[in-house]
């Protein structure tokens, strides 16, 4: 199974035209791998055939979107990021009477609960609202449920401790069979919503926007567009947190941000 870039581009154009999902500005190699994975799993040999199938069958397209847009993450991924977030940013956010946080591309929610735990430990959660958005409905539902495999907890606990957690990680969840469910108190101020960074607009003003390991999937133009969207969505002196290998390099707004922590990719809007 192999297809050329032209075939791939044509398919992504058709998807945009028919369904409004825009993958045309995604970095191609990852999209290609995910589509190949989707085709392999369903034993579809030719891209053209798969294109016809998903353009005619909305149910299959749903599956396609879920697989092509899924991202994996973990709680407190890159503990040093969360440590810096706590020490350099949350302390400053504490001066606001009301804190709005946007976690853009929240995937299956591990980052949301990580941030909620930090806010809780800094005594800020009850006056915060976290807007958690993703393009992928199935991922959003998992995020909403807040139920995760128990075997991940060992890694997450270690991450939590490295991130400077002040409590006991196991107090934030209840284990049942092979799963754990995160505490309701963490969820009370989270708003879950579908949002597509490639096409949707700004919807609120935030003190903190976190978007980690999402931009790496976009080409330079789309990265630029999305950083501008974040810029417009931040209040003056609002904070932006990116993934450890992401940057503002391709953004027209790079001069409108200052580094708070260079290594952890934390920025403040000037």
């Amino acid at each position: 199974m192999s297809f050329d870039n032209k075939e791939l581009k044509d398919l992504l154009e058709s998807i945009r035209f028919v369904y409004g999902y825009d993958f045309t500005d995604y970095a191609e190699a990852s999209v290609r791998r995910r589509i190949e994975h989707f085709m392999n799993a369903r034993k579809i040999a030719a891209l053209e055939k798969m294109g016809k199938m998903i353009l005619q069958d909305e149910k299959l397209f749903e599956e396609f979107i879920q697989e092509v847009s899924v991202t994996v993450t973990e709680m407190f991924r890159d503990p040093s990021f969360y440590k810096s977030l706590r020490e350099n940013i949350l302390k400053r956010l504490a001066t606001y009477p009301f804190i709005k946080v946007w976690i853009a591309g929240c995937a299956t929610g591990e980052e949301i609960y990580s941030v909620a735990i930090l806010l809780q430990e800094e005594g800020l959660l009850n006056r915060s609202v976290i807007y958690a958005t993703d393009i992928n409905q199935k991922s959003l539902q998992i995020a909403k449920d807040g139920v995760y495999p128990v075997e991940n907890m060992k890694t997450y606990t270690a991450n939590y401790q490295k991130a400077g957690g002040t409590g006991s990680f196991s107090e934030y969840y209840k284990a049942k069979y092979n799963s754990v469910m995160f505490d309701k108190s963490l969820k009370q101020n989270i708003v879950f919503a579908a949002h597509n960074l490639a096409v949707d607009k700004s919807f609120n003003e935030f003190q903190l926007v976190i978007c980690r390991n999402v931009l790496i999937y976009f080409n330079q133009q789309l990265q630029n567009k999305v950083i501008s969207l974040f810029y417009e969505s931040l209040c003056p002196f609002g904070f932006l947190g990116l993934g450890s290998k992401e940057s503002l390099l391709f953004s027209d707004k790079r001069k409108n941000f200052e580094e708070v922590d260079r290594k952890e990719k934390l920025f403040i809007k000037k």
Binding site: A27, A29, S30, R33, I216, S244, K245
Partner: protein
């Protein structure tokens, strides 16, 4: 070996357990203006952000750097996949990164780099697989062969961990089974061509 330099436009290397010694041995004498870009996946701990690059640089003349997303792939450089990300080659010969699930328990995965590089560099790609205790890289080597590239595996008999080169050899898609010394002298011939 005239023409070898025109034929090959990129080299990918996969290494796992025991890889640091193999990499230093093979790369240390490459000249700073080595005419072909070298891209490496070495399985590594995600907690050590730049240690591998620093250690290799201290032994090598050619510039060693961690690959950045969207970076243009150029000669005279050895690029290393960052910890905890897959490294992919795009059609416009830039890098992209992904945080997709591990492939064969690895992120970065050798297969991901090799397969994406194969589709871009086709028959001008050299793929080399070193020591390791994983079967990551075997599918990648097969992809390189399929696109007409040259495949080389370290001789399992001398590899610190023979499993990984052996897994590639088992696919029957490996052209040369060479010792590190032979691989090194082959690469030096490219730079002299």
């Amino acid at each position: 070996m005239s023409g070898i330099n025109e034929k090959y436009k990129a080299i990918v290397i996969g290494a796992s357990a025991g890889g640091l010694f193999a990499l230093s041995f093979v790369l240390e004498e490459l000249p700073a203006d080595f005419p072909v870009p070298v891209m490496i996946v070495q399985h590594r701990s995600k907690d050590q952000r730049d240690l591998l690059e620093e250690v290799l640089q201290s032994k090598c003349r050619i510039r060693i750097k961690q690959a950045d997303e969207k970076e243009k792939i150029e000669s005279g450089l050895v690029y290393i996949a960052p910890p905890d990300y897959h490294l992919l080659v795009e059609a416009d010969r830039t890098f992209s990164l992904s945080a997709d699930e591990p492939v064969r328990f690895s992120r970065p995965s050798i297969d991901v780099l090799f397969e994406t590089a194969a589709t871009v560099f086709k028959d001008s790609l050299i793929g080399i697989i070193f020591t390791g205790a994983s079967n990551d890289g075997a599918a990648g080597m097969a992809a390189i062969k399929k696109y007409g590239g040259l495949t080389i595996a370290q001789d399992p008999a001398e590899a610190q961990f023979p499993y990984m080169p052996a897994a590639s050899i088992e696919t029957k898609e490996v052209k040369h089974i060479w010792t590190l010394a032979e691989i090194k002298s082959f690469l030096l011939k490219i730079s002299a061509a």
